[in-house]
Symmetry: C2
């Protein structure tokens, strides 16, 4: 949580936390500390027990003032234009950082954060060291990873809200599919066989109506090809009846929080094999829910789910990790879940060999799945939060295997 | 261009180019060399005059095979699972990199690229150095910045295509606005005063219909508030007649190229002041077009536009850079343009003190603007490309100040 920054700065023996980037977009670390969308990004500087300072381009002062930092300054205050005129745009970066650090009399260890190109970061830190600054990196989990890992109740509410909107997108999608005609094998839309491309365009429209975006695309995978968990579904794929459809959406509010939800359904009648897989996956998710509480090792949930699948005769990724020569893509082939927030992949990781313990404030997915190239995939994914009164499922959306049967 | 990688690796005296990240999303460097969307990202390794290698998670092999790299391998081939079991998820990263570098007998200078958290990168490079690897950063422009700067004709076609779709979004928006009723001051939609929130939802819907997203939001700024170039327009703002509206969209094809276009218009009748500003901005853009050719300094275009505005009595950002005490937000307060591609902010920069010379293959915005807090802003923005037969405007979209008059 952002409130823990001072404590984390102390614990990690840093003098200052420096977060930067040329946009808050694609830079969750900067977005997190700034709390506003900055088209040109900025430099955030936080000393222990002092209020943070945010330095931005003249053009972003208005946007910055809507965020969390009250002390907003401009590059001009640090002589940016003169440096620019003297050294040019390609060289000005490290010199400007040096000015900012000197003006605020920063001494001691500087933790550097924010998502930027590796090459640029290595050069920046080299030059800052030449100027006499002590720039340091940290092993996982970095200070900001640790801070971002546990969510405040305000953040949980934001994720829940994106969840409610995601649910409406799901419901509209189901209504659209149920409204289509059918022949023996396919859905028919406007006298043509319905394709995944058309469905995805509908889904994107529903997302737009909820002011959500799907920056990392979405998965609508039909039939046996859904056995590849990351197969997103191609526009030309046909929407088949009586076949499993894995529908996975991970939308983001513009410049904000993500949600992540998967439902698997069959339009029409499911095969016995898919029905059995579905029951096993549902049970697995319930096992994980029952175990999810603060203090529990994240890996324990993963292991419980692997145990369950093994006991029902399915292979799991644990068998592969142990070196069993199984076909890689059969059974439970991925991890159980991951944290979400300003990204859709952060701590805690509900995975084999995870170092994470579950904590109050964790918000994460629980997404067991079974895959079989002969018949397809089944995955059910909810987002849950751990509060001081236990686990709360933020995903208020029905789970029904057969629709429009 | 990607074809220039070997030459750039030689010139910069690197042995190997290493690009990495935990997703291609938000990581344009990795997306560029991989040419496919990878949910879990990967490690790309390219030695001079050798075919590149891409190492990904088992789960992303299918997605990776659709990309540019034919030699796709999995982390498992480098003993990932055993490292994971022994060291845990938080520590496995640098060890896996070491394995990959050793297996491919990498010696000499390693250029490290890809957008990742600064703290993680500093720690990774420190540990790799301990393992005996020579990891280096580069000053701007880095090798990949230089490669990405000039676009192949295939890339130009992709940008142009996003441009055509963006134009359709613009036209639908205008049609929507023209279809609304009016009272003396406002547009009326379904018996209520039309708000910017409703317009933005419409625009997002049109974007969805074109399979475009607006991950970095969009600008629909009405009246005097449009004088802040980065004011995006709040949902509660009213759509006013006879007032300038700055409509700036910068959509992205999912996991692909951006476009960036601005039109300023008045629904109804423009004031004389806005009309004069509009003419001056149009003329400024034409001046820039006339100068835009390979070999020309990018700064020269910026200066020509500043000269033009100055000659017509407007202040510019150049006056501020020279130390004149002018109100910061009056006149031409930003740069003339920037490159676009897999990001909406890259070389070349058409700005004061830019180090860039225009080259064949450059794709960039030309976006002069004038701002006045009393009346609002006027900005006109097109995307152009420099080909061997001169400048090509990729923005086939009308420029009309007054609509529905």
């Amino acid at each position: 949580m952002l409130e823990a920054l001072d404590e984390l700065i102390s614990k990690r023996r840093l003098s200052v936390l420096l977060v930067y980037g040329n946009s808050t977009f694609g830079n969750p670390e900067l977005l997190y500390v700034v709390g506003a969308s900055l088209a040109r990004g900025g430099v955030y500087l936080k000393r222990r027990r002092k209020a943070p300072i945010l330095v931005v381009s003249n053009i972003d002062v208005g946007a910055a003032s809507k965020g969390l930092v009250s002390d907003v300054r401009t590059y001009s205050e640090y002589g940016y234009e003169k440096l620019l005129a003297k050294y040019g745009r390609d060289r000005v970066g490290p010199l400007l950082f040096d000015r900012i650090l000197r003006k605020h009399r920063v001494r001691g260890r500087i933790g550097l954060y924010g998502r930027n190109d590796a090459s640029e970061i290595l050069d920046l830190s080299k030059q800052l060291r030449r100027f006499g600054h002590r720039v340091v990196g940290e092993r996982h989990p970095s200070l900001l990873e640790a801070a971002r890992e546990t969510k405040s109740s305000l953040e949980v509410d934001k994720v829940r809200d994106v969840g409610s909107r995601t649910k409406r997108v799901f419901k509209k999608t189901i209504e659209f599919l149920e409204g289509c005609k059918r022949d023996e094998k396919h859905l028919i839309y406007e006298s043509e066989i319905l394709t995944v491309g058309i469905v995805k365009t509908e889904i994107r429209r529903y997302l737009a109506e909820e002011n959500l975006a799907a920056p990392e695309d979405l998965i609508f995978a039909v039939g046996p090809r859904s056995a590849d968990p990351h197969y997103t579904g191609e526009d030309g794929d046909l929407v088949l009846v009586d076949q499993p459809i894995v529908f996975d959406i991970f939308p983001q509010e513009t410049g904000g929080y993500y949600f992540d939800m998967t439902r698997t359904f069959v339009i029409g009648k499911s095969s016995e094999r898919i029905r059995t897989m579905y029951k096993s996956v549902s049970t697995a998710q319930q096992f994980a829910f029952d175990l999810a509480q603060a203090g529990c090792r994240a890996e324990a949930l993963m292991n419980a789910v692997c145990d369950h699948f093994s006991s029902e005769g399915y292979k799991t990724i644990r068998d592969l990790a142990r070196g069993d020569k199984i076909a890689e893509k059969i059974g439970f082939v991925h991890s159980l879940g991951h944290g979400i927030g300003l990204t859709i992949g952060e701590k805690p990781y509900l995975a084999l060999y995870s170092d994470d313990n579950l904590k109050i404030g964790h918000v994460f997915t629980v997404e067991p799945g079974l895959y079989d190239p002969e018949v397809g995939g089944v995955r059910i994914e909810d987002v849950v939060a751990l509060s001081d009164s236990g686990m709360v499922n933020l995903t208020d959306c029905e789970k029904i295997l057969e629709i429009g049967a």
